[in-house]
Assembly symmetry: C2
Homo-oligomer: 221 residues x 2
């Protein structure tokens, strides 16, 4: 069985977890605290980041490799798009949400606010948090812009683009850091993806001593 090495605060891990659930693939979760830089974990992924998929003797390291691997091995339903142009659009948005959004919003806001606390990483950098809180508005506006033109972020079908964006926003939402009231179009889109069965077990999980806000699991938030 596939093992997903993950952490609940890691949006990239959430994306692969949601993808596996959407496809009905059975998997086991194994929690890793990547900041501990355990030798056994670094052998799985020398880059030291999450997620890693382990299947038999093979490790698939990193979110982009993992998402593509799962699409290749479990093709049904296709979540990457049905032709090269569509896949290019999904991959453009994967880069947007997994690299750009991660760096501009999640890594700063959640990394500074909760990540440092659970890893004993020192005091949070409040300037970084403020910058990330500003940056999220542009990203939520971009979701709204896409939603005016399409049914899902990359087109008419739900794809990994939606999963990656929802994974990021769900981590921020756990930290109470999504200004939903100012972004109703993004909220409507998130409500749709949040109500999918694949989301339920993920939203039910919590970090010891760091509960999410009450609206986090609520489908009418």
């Amino acid at each position: 069985m596939i093992v997903l090495v993950h952490h609940l605060l890691c949006a990239a891990s959430r994306a692969v977890r949601l993808q596996l659930s959407e496809k009905g693939v059975a998997f086991e979760l194994r929690v890793e605290r990547p900041w501990e830089r355990r030798a056994d974990f670094l052998r799985l992924n020398p880059a030291g980041d999450l997620p890693v998929l382990v299947e038999d003797e093979n490790a698939v390291a990193g979110v982009l490799a993992a998402l593509e691997y799962v699409e290749e091995i479990h093709a049904d339903p296709p979540l990457l798009g049905r032709d090269p142009q569509q896949r290019a659009e999904v991959r453009r948005l994967l880069n947007w949400f997994l690299v750009k959004f991660e760096a501009e919003v999640t890594a700063t806001v959640v990394g500074e606010k909760i990540g440092k606390r659970i890893s004993n990483g020192g005091p949070p950098n409040s300037r970084a948090i403020s910058a990330g809180r500003q940056n999220i508005h542009m990203h939520l506006d971009y979701v709204a812009w896409l939603m005016e033109r399409r049914r899902w972020l990359a087109g008419e079908q739900m794809t990994l683009a939606d999963i990656a964006a929802a994974a990021q926003l769900s981590v921020l939402d756990y930290a109470g850091e999504v200004p939903w009231a100012k972004h109703p179009e993004a909220k409507d889109w998130y409500a749709r993806i949040k109500s999918r069965p694949a989301f339920r077990p993920l939203l039910a999980e919590t970090l010891p001593g760091i509960p999410p806000p009450r609206h986090y699991t609520d489908l009418d938030f």
Copy 2:
């Protein structure tokens, strides 16, 4: 014909250019200065970064989308690996060199030293340059570690992993910022990929007023 929107200092653009050349795909180059944030360019790629491939009416934005698109449209020779495990390894290393190496080395060293000069971006941040100059040693050590175990970075065949790593190092080499003398194994690997015909036109190109060091085009550097 495919148009590659690129900049000579952009390692990601170089990677796609080398991929197209290795496959013998005809393409035109169009130079973009992404820091100008031209409206026409942002319509092609709202993220505002390079490269972008344009074919007929379609734009493929971002290096990961572009590399995967070219593999899908021009499958021969395959540069992404021949089975799902191999492709996972190539994609792990693509993320390593195109995201991690870019952030830890190229964006700081070349971005501060030359990027700011050509974009009127203000004085270079010498602390960032020092940090990048330290970081490159770890990456060159990792190339050496892989070369002790494999013929090419991802295995027995040359793949996009080699192309992405060579693209990064060629940009740093243009700036005279690769400490080759301290890293003979990485140098041997780079000499092999640098001598491929696909590399020649790329190395022949220069930025006005910013010549590369003499060894940049030399196959016996």
